[in-house]
Symmetry: C2
Subunit: 431 residues, 2 copies
């Protein structure tokens, strides 16, 4: 890009929490910003699991990036994919071959699923990172229920009604709780041949407890809440293999047609673009002020960065870290700040299902209904834009009061090749 204005050119790659926070801080300032993302929308990722379980619509938790910067003429939004960085010439290379010059570069490219070297599992156990992922999981869960309704082979029916979530972090816990609610509620109301007793939701966690980043007593509270919802929690159960219709742990072979991956992520290939060292999760090592070692004008933030926290351990891959880092590097670029980025931890929240959550705010730890209200308020508050907040609040209130799920749509073509025997009894049955 030709430098028309002589103002510093900032290129931000990725419009997640980190990139968006940086761009917002730079809006209206004397810099020319180009914000590049592969999608036209920002996604509020903490609520993606609600789209995956038919509680919310995509537009409730995602909005066009352009719309956020309507009134900021110094922010240019570009729908494109970055394929590399030419650090010597200070250029970002786009998929079509175009190059964009930068004076400052912010890498906020986020993370994607990691199958620990078993990429072949991805076909059977989709992860949850984008709106497309969420819609694919929603489709899979809803279709499994539909097929179970007409399936007469008992073993296949049970496999269709068995849902496995791999990974007991916040996403896994939230997914397991929401699937249990969805399957049991809608099955008991709307289906004729299957009953809630038939469906199983199994949460597999390799470690000693779910929510390992929370205090142990909150992990135990979460486990109890999950069990109240009918989720079978399996601890110390690392996955050995996942294939078409099954999950194999060291102790057990589970037949399940729906498996959701919530176990591991890896950073996007930003480290490879710069040809610098990365940690085992693919994250770039950054200095105290978040610039990449050896590149004073390149910053990495959020899930892309391995930034040292207190005690030297890397900061967690959560939204508040990314947002605070985005603001920090914007201030560094504007010359308003320097020195060391310090993460202010306001606490951790995770929800388990209707009326249940755990909250860890240092000395204040709680679980149950009040924790759930806190979780709801915090999530609605941080949603982008007043409209989404209102839409989500109303949807939740509606779902809460009616026990319904408002977005139970199976979209995309459905395969109808399953042969069914001629006679189908109307009465309910289940093993």
């Amino acid at each position: 890009m030709k430098n028309v204005s002589n103002r510093p050119r900032v290129v931000i790659v990725g419009a997640g929490f980190g990139g968006l926070a940086a761009a917002k801080r730079l809006a209206g300032k004397r810099v020319d910003v180009t914000l590049i993302d592969r999608r036209n929308h920002h996604v509020f990722q903490p609520l993606l699991y609600q789209v995956a379980t038919a509680g919310l619509s995509p537009a409730d938790i995602a909005g066009p990036i352009r719309g956020i910067f309507s009134r900021a003429p110094n922010i240019r939004v570009l729908l494109d994919e970055v394929t590399g960085v030419n650090v010597f010439d200070g250029e970002v290379v786009l998929k079509g071959g175009t190059k964009l010059d930068y004076d400052w570069l912010i890498l906020a490219t986020g993370a994607r699923h990691s199958y620990f070297g078993h990429d072949e599992w991805s076909a059977h156990a989709p992860g949850l990172k984008s709106i497309e992922d969420a819609l694919a999981i929603r489709r899979k869960v809803l279709l499994a229920l539909e097929r179970a309704e007409t399936e007469t082979d008992q073993r296949m029916r049970l496999a269709l009604l068995t849902f496995v979530v791999v990974g007991g972090g916040p996403t896994g816990v939230e997914m397991a709780g929401a699937i249990a609610e969805l399957a049991q509620r809608s099955v008991s109301r709307d289906f004729r041949n299957i009953t809630p007793r038939c469906s199983r939701v199994i949460l597999l966690e390799a470690g000693e407890r779910v929510l390992p980043t929370f205090p142990p007593e909150l992990s135990r509270a979460a486990e109890r809440s999950l069990e109240d919802l009918g989720v079978e929690v399996r601890l110390r159960a690392p996955v050995r293999d996942i294939g078409d219709g099954y999950v194999d742990t060291a102790k057990e072979l589970i037949f399940a047609r729906t498996v959701v991956w919530a176990a591991g992520v890896t950073a996007s290939p930003a480290a490879d673009w710069l040809q610098v060292d990365k940690d085992r999760n693919g994250r770039l090592f950054v200095e105290a002020d978040l610039h990449v070692a050896g590149h004073r004008n390149i910053f990495a933030i959020g899930d892309t960065a391995n930034a040292p926290g207190i005690g030297g351990a890397a900061l967690p891959a959560v939204a508040p870290v990314a947002k605070q880092q985005g603001k920090f590097v914007a201030d560094v670029i504007l010359g308003r700040r320097s020195g060391t980025f310090i993460y202010r931890d306001f606490g951790n929240l995770a929800t388990i299902g209707r009326s249940r959550a755990v909250v860890d705010m240092g000395r204040l730890r709680m679980s149950g209904f009040i924790a759930w209200l806190t979780w709801s308020a915090a999530h609605v508050w941080f949603l982008i834009g007043f409209r989404s907040r209102l839409a989500v609040t109303l949807n939740w209130l509606w779902n809460y009061l009616t026990y319904q799920r408002s977005a139970r749509l199976i979209t995309g073509e459905v395969e109808f090749s399953h042969p069914q025997p001629r006679s189908q009894p109307l009465e309910r049955k289940c093993a």
Copy 2:
């Protein structure tokens, strides 16, 4: 299906307006009903164009069919595809080979796009019948704007910003108006390199006037409203050819990357299943009480049927006809009614855009703001379920007050292979 209960078995194929109305009337009665649809959701088709133009989310206008019949144990909902009917044995054949016995059969399979023998046009000019269609058009329109923003070839940029709607019936008029509003509003707010002046929306109608089923003065009012919105209305402009990036009418070759087909529909293949005569739109001929000639226990309703109206002309393919026919045949099956189906026409409505509509209720004809309020109220009222009504009303109110579009998401993978030249000026430009 084995007849367990000895009650009459009714099979309804299709859960559009007609099939749903029939099933609702049969709910709780002494009949066993199986309602079959290829999708798990009912779509409120009159508002599909709002999903296609990013005003509403799919879940706002569609809901799971099962949910509608939660409390009606005699209605079984089946997600499957019908491939044929065996009239001698009284069986419906499903895709997987399963057969369902019926005592009464209601064919409510609706219509799909017809390209008048030019099926090759479908790849370039998608129609609007399903949620998937609407999302595909939304994606196409939004991506065209995104690409125009970075395109530097002047001719390509203009083709990206030219939107052609083929067909001046209600769907075509509504689409053209909504695209014009979307393109101009969001372009003027959120984009940097393109301006509203650059974009063109062209409505092609083969006949003498738009909305040919309305009185001529309302057609003229609609044309004026469209022109106020910046839509170029071309009358007597039949399409000769549609290809990759162009539409050819007898008088004009239009370069456009986005073409929407709203010109013709044909009935689904129900006539072929029964091997009976069909009209040139593929519709089954039905007798006065809507049974198919020669098959006293098979009814055809809605867009599937050619039912004679006053004066002998076929009844129009609109939702009220399908709904009234659905109730009527349900009553015939229940032995509550017989004789001739008579359509009660309460009027015709079409909207053109923000604050503009035409209403034809016999002696009462109006256009403008009051007509638009009438249109809005009627559409909200007829939406399935209180929740959708509330969601749509709030969305509309929000969109109306803020001039925003709440569902501007491009979902699915985006191709980024377009090469772009190195320097891109930030200033706006347009031919």
